[in-house]
């Protein structure tokens, strides 16, 4: 396997894994306050799925020779990137819906083509991830639908969440093609199959009718159907915001990383104990076998 291909894949797969792990935080922060027991159960299962996605993806990256602890360390020290969207706060219950509908929706648009990526273990992990993600997107849509058709306050909560997440969700596809240096190579290697702008357009075309069905407005005055192109036109995104968040200045960039570090630090003694115990078990078994 050519070294640059391996390196690019490890970077992409581990970034995706890190995004799943950091992505547990914004929604996880609503588990304790979910407004019904059924919603609480669904949300808990969803955040648990994200931990599971992290596990498959780290495993896929390990098949390329990078140990999991090394990837954890890259995230811990802030050298690794993860999706910037998770540096935004989940302030209200409706944000849980908006994350499911828009953030998971954008993720699926990105990920479905990756099920056919040239590296098998990654593609196969993505098949399972996408199945669960499409369930997540539907649950987000359903949260927003219920809120949008609930009380006036609930409707407002849903609209406010969509207003805040729409732009950052569209930016999840990355910078415009004209400003995306690595894309061409990844497409040549069939790791990435469509360009950032192609995927973003596909996503916008998908969510416009969905927003209408929700009874919510997408916060873009330039959004309109273009008969000639057969696609929706949409306004320029705030790329200054994007690059600023990407550089680590997101509203919660520091908190997300601190949360992760605290969990790793506080769990260190547990991992040491588990390793010591496993080592001793192994020795005892070896001694028994030798006796």
């Amino acid at each position: 396997m050519p070294e640059p291909y391996r390196k690019t894949l490890v970077r992409q797969v581990s970034q995706h894994a890190h995004s799943e792990i950091i992505g547990m935080q914004p929604e996880g922060n609503w588990i304790s306050r979910a407004p019904s027991l059924k919603r609480k159960a669904i949300l808990m299962a969803k955040v648990q799925d994200e931990a599971g996605h992290g596990l498959y993806l780290y495993s896929a990256a390990e098949t390329l020779g990078t140990p999991r602890d090394e990837m954890f360390d890259q995230l811990y020290t802030g050298r690794a990137k993860y999706s910037s969207i998770f540096n935004y706060p989940a302030r209200t219950w409706a944000d849980v819906g908006a994350i499911g509908w828009l953030v998971d929706g954008a993720a699926i648009t990105n990920q479905v083509p990756l099920c056919r990526a040239s590296y098998g273990p990654y593609g196969r992990a993505m098949v399972r991830v996408c199945k669960e993600e499409s369930f997540h997107q539907r649950q987000g849509w359903e949260i927003l639908y219920t809120l949008s058709h609930g009380t006036e306050e609930q409707h407002q909560m849903a609209q406010d969440a969509v207003d805040r997440f729409y732009g950052p969700a569209l930016q999840m596809f990355g910078p415009p093609d004209s400003d995306s240096p690595n894309s061409g190579q990844s497409m040549a290697w069939n790791i990435k199959r469509f360009s950032n702008d192609e995927l973003r357009q596909r996503f916008v075309d998908m969510i416009v009718p969905q927003a209408e069905a929700l009874g919510l407005t997408l916060p873009d005055p330039d959004l309109q159907w273009n008969e000639e192109r057969g696609h929706y036109d949409f306004g320029e995104l705030d790329w200054d915001e994007f690059f600023s968040v990407l550089k680590g200045n997101g509203p919660l960039s520091r908190q997300r990383l601190e949360h992760y570090r605290r969990a790793r630090d506080e769990g260190a003694w547990v991992r040491e104990a588990a390793a010591a115990y496993a080592g001793r078990q192994h020795q005892e078994q070896a001694a028994l076998a030798g006796a």
Partner: protein
């Protein structure tokens, strides 16, 4: 056609198990005393689920994020069955009972309300409570109340895993390093005075006969199994008497108010709303 034959890791299957919605729409209506009993069991499960779920994204290892989430999810499922069934006595839903009761109306024991502390303390609490619950549900499957028996049947399979998870971690921590052994021992010591409350025959249980399981009847086997698990891990069974106030009323607990304040806040901001 059996759902079970189509089970796979990627496919959701309902299996043969009952669901809270089925209980709500069935003809089963709990009488007052049975409902109060179901509420005791349901409140324990709900409080522990609430506590455990805050480990998600904070666990020592990714596999434990998954495991603790899974246990919390199982317990939440048990709580939903039990509170749904309890609610049938008063025309209330699971959410009425979970979100719109005040502190003094809950009947959870203090053990499940205790703060998570470190992983050692959480595992100590899991070991105690899952061992108790395993004993409880393995008897409640014989309840003369068919709904409680069906709930126990489903819960028992899950609680077996919880007990195994806790016992395995007790071994790892007890026999791992000096620090881990000290931490889980501290956890056991800090919680042990709440163990006796599990075995108190509070109202209305003694009057329920074969519908319920008398908590005092679980004491000997539960303590025996706990002793085995604790000693196998090179740890010491704490010797201390039960903390005063073992009546599940909440009058002797500071934790319950904090748990409810967080759990109920959004639902209470929007009374009458659907979610």
């Amino acid at each position: 056609m059996s759902f079970a034959s189509h089970d796979s890791a990627t496919r959701q299957s309902q299996g043969e198990a009952i669901t809270p919605e089925e209980i709500a729409s069935s003809d089963a209506v709990a009488d007052e005393a049975t409902a109060r009993y179901a509420m005791i069991l349901g409140d324990d499960a709900l409080m522990l689920s609430q506590r455990l779920s805050s480990w998600i994204s904070r666990a020592p290892e990714l596999e434990e994020d998954v495991a603790l989430a899974n246990i919390a999810l199982d317990l939440l499922g048990h709580a939903r069955f039990l509170l749904t069934y309890a609610g049938t006595a008063w025309g209330k839903t699971e959410d009425d009972l979970a979100y719109f009761r005040d502190e003094e109306e809950f009947r959870s024991c203090r053990l499940v309300e205790q703060e998570n502390g470190d992983f050692g303390r959480t595992i100590a609490r899991q070991l105690i409570f899952s061992t108790y619950q395993h004993q409880l549900y393995s008897r409640l499957v014989h309840s003369t109340d068919p709904t409680l028996a069906a709930i126990a049947d489903k819960a028992l399979k899950e609680v077996q895993y919880h007990q195994d998870h806790a016992a395995q971690w007790t071994l790892r921590l007890g026999l791992g390093t000096e620090e881990s052994s000290r931490r889980i021992q501290d956890g056991l010591d800090s919680l042990w005075s709440y163990v006796e409350e599990l075995f108190l025959d509070v109202d209305p249980i003694p009057a329920l006969g074969d519908v319920a399981v008398l908590p005092s009847s679980l004491r000997e086997d539960t303590l025996h199994r706990l002793r085995e698990a604790i000693e196998a891990a090179g740890l010491t069974v704490p010797e201390m008497s039960g903390a005063y106030g073992s009546d599940r009323t909440g009058r002797f607990s500071e934790q319950r108010g904090y748990i409810l304040a967080e759990m109920q806040v959004l639902a209470r901001q929007h009374p009458g709303a659907t979610w």
